[in-house]
Symmetry: C2
Subunit: 395 residues, 2 copies
């Protein structure tokens, strides 16, 4: 029979072939992989989650198994608001929060509510691949804004806001994916000044913000811009990604109401079983202490990875030194493509992620992303030696 797929889904996924290749390679257990972005399972609170589940089912089992409200489990929402106040000095109230299937779903919700075909939106260049993929489902014109060592290029941002008509900018100001870079407080303030009084919304994603193992945190754009800045959050990187519990925090009532209507239509509500178990876990355990342990692991792993790079990478290869998060961003010397290094490294048993799919337009770039959160020291040592040798052959 003659199948006619919708036009929207007939276009190839934005960089879909690229990610399929990487995922396929990463699934090979004989590979040493620095290509993913998985939290280290050492940090997963398995026993605590078992205790929390038993408590929830004993106390309130029917509620955990029955249909529930679209916005999310109120006690969990309350905890998210309290944590915003405690950690970031931000005032959100329960009516501002919707619980989502990970923050990935919130990206789609915001896109559906804001983007008409042809609308301009701004992103960091490079930015989170799966955000680009989601945005592209809605046919925007994507305007990439340069990312410097200290954050978004505020001159380019000001010029773009002045000369174009973007609806929002998507940013990850803390330990950005893919670069691991963090905005300086100065850049945050300048960015807020550029946007204040305009109709440009900020969509601030913050999956890694609490994983800071050195330096000091800057202010969220929400701190400066209030309801002009919508926030995404997730428990994936600090507790568990498998439970798929993220959220969107939005003080603008018009946008909030549309987000909630869309969420309801999409899947009625996020699984209440995991929302209740997670809330019980937060009640019974010290999340700060748990995050401290994860940060210690990640800080040590970042340091060890950097030491391997220093030891094995040839001269001319540079890399970021993250203060938190999960990624190091490597820049190769002129004339060497990251996709070629990636292809050679896989032949030698090491998976890395070339920078290409994180850019809206650039291809054949010299940058690549290295994940350090989920490898043993032995794997880092062996993998970086192989990667360094591959680079040396190509220089």
């Amino acid at each position: 029979m003659n199948i006619k797929i919708s036009k929207r889904m007939s276009q190839p996924d934005f960089q879909g072939a690229f990610t399929a290749d990487i995922l396929k390679a990463a699934a090979n257990p004989s590979l040493i992989s620095f290509a993913g972005g998985l939290p280290n399972p050492v940090s997963f609170p398995v026993e605590e989650m078992e205790a929390a589940t038993n408590k929830v089912l004993a106390r309130d089992g029917v509620r955990a198994l029955q249909y529930s409200g679209a916005q999310g489990y109120p006690p969990l929402i309350k905890r998210i608001c309290e944590r915003y106040k405690k950690i970031m000095d931000l005032d959100f109230s329960p009516k501002d929060i919707i619980i989502t299937n990970g923050s990935q779903q919130a990206l789609d919700m915001f896109s559906a509510v804001m983007i008409d075909p042809g609308d301009q939106i701004m992103v960091e260049n490079p930015t989170y691949l799966c955000a680009l993929q989601t945005f592209h489902l809605y046919y925007p014109e994507v305007l990439p804004i340069k990312l410097n060592e200290d954050g978004i290029d505020t001159d380019m941002l000001a010029e773009t806001v002045k000369t174009q008509n973007p609806k929002f900018i998507y940013i990850i100001p803390n330990f950005q994916n893919p670069t691991g870079l963090t905005y300086s407080e100065n850049v945050r303030q300048q960015m807020a000044e550029v946007l204040k009084g305009t109709d440009v919304l900020v969509l601030e994603d913050n999956p890694y913000g609490e994983l800071r193992f050195s330096g000091e945190a800057g202010h969220s754009l929400h701190y400066f811009l209030g309801e002009q800045c919508v926030m995404l959050g997730t428990f994936s990187k600090i507790v568990s990604p498998g439970m798929r519990i993220g959220w969107i925090a939005c003080k603008n009532r018009e946008i909030f109401d549309k987000l909630l209507a869309y969420k309801t239509t999409m899947d009625l509500h996020t699984n209440i079983f995991c929302q209740m178990v997670l809330e019980q876990y937060l009640e019974d355990n010290d999340l700060d202490a748990h995050i401290e342990r994860a940060k210690k692991i990640y800080g040590e792993k970042a340091e060890y990875m950097i030491s391997c790079m220093e030891k094995y990478f040839p001269e001319g290869v540079t890399y970021t030194k993250p203060e938190g998060g999960m990624f190091i961003w490597v820049t190769l010397p002129e004339g060497i493509k990251a996709v070629d290094v990636q292809a050679e490294a896989i032949k030698e048993g090491v998976a890395v992620c070339a920078g290409d799919p994180f850019y809206e337009n650039e291809r054949g770039v010299r940058t690549m992303r290295i994940n350090y959160s989920n490898s043993t020291n032995e794997a880092m040592d062996k993998g970086m030696k192989i990667l360094g040798d591959v680079m040396k052959k190509m220089i």
Copy 2:
């Protein structure tokens, strides 16, 4: 600031105000509500789920908390295939199944993959409200096909297929929502004959199929049409809706690949924690026996509800006698609107659901949906007496 919501989300929700009113009324605990469609919590396997969770976390805790594959947990997918074979004599293989956040998400996935603005689609008239709401997000032209006591009107279906250009038809052939009606085997065969050899896909939803307490099951359209019929399924009505575990079963590779790509972009994957717990529950328990218990409860409740209607409803009011599922469809005498009965009944403390939002076009209809799965006999007796009195005053 000046917020410009996307055109897609600027249109009012299809019947959104109506459902908001009903949900608000239904949330009032002092009401007797027959307006919802909740499974009876008596049937929830709370203790068994606790045992399953403990097993999963003890055996494979890291896997339950880590990121997972977009298609779903392979052992759960395998069980779904086995159950299709056992219960419906259908051959699906694991590569045909995607686990979704309830079958509601699968409705959206299929819509995104198939519907371009202006495309024609067919639905039963009336049909599941939240399916209409999802379809409308994609701007189709909806062609409602008459629903008779024995199923879809195959003459009208044949005429529509001949004279129009519909892409698919969405059907709920077993204990339909809202009417509780079931297609006869004859109608199923005729429907298959009409569609065979055309380019019209069937999207067959089957949330209630296993809840048959009398009569005999007919064949799925997939049995006759093979890959021309895509199936939706869910554990919501037979185990737990709160875990949000549904699926889509699609043998057509082109559509399947697009569905999976879309799911990946939407939220990466369905929560693996609940997928694994549910699979362990299925391993350790007799699902058939569990469903038998639920069917016994629902059969008794349906019978009791019918007896209350016989006792309290005035002459001229008719109603379906379901062989399974959760709903009875009531038709009022000429000249009385269901929305008026609904409004008066709520004043007297009883919530029912007028038929209006289940129709694509008709408003001010004489039909309404009564849910019997989730009420005590006392509430049914009291509620039907009040409803009957309200009707009598209006006749």
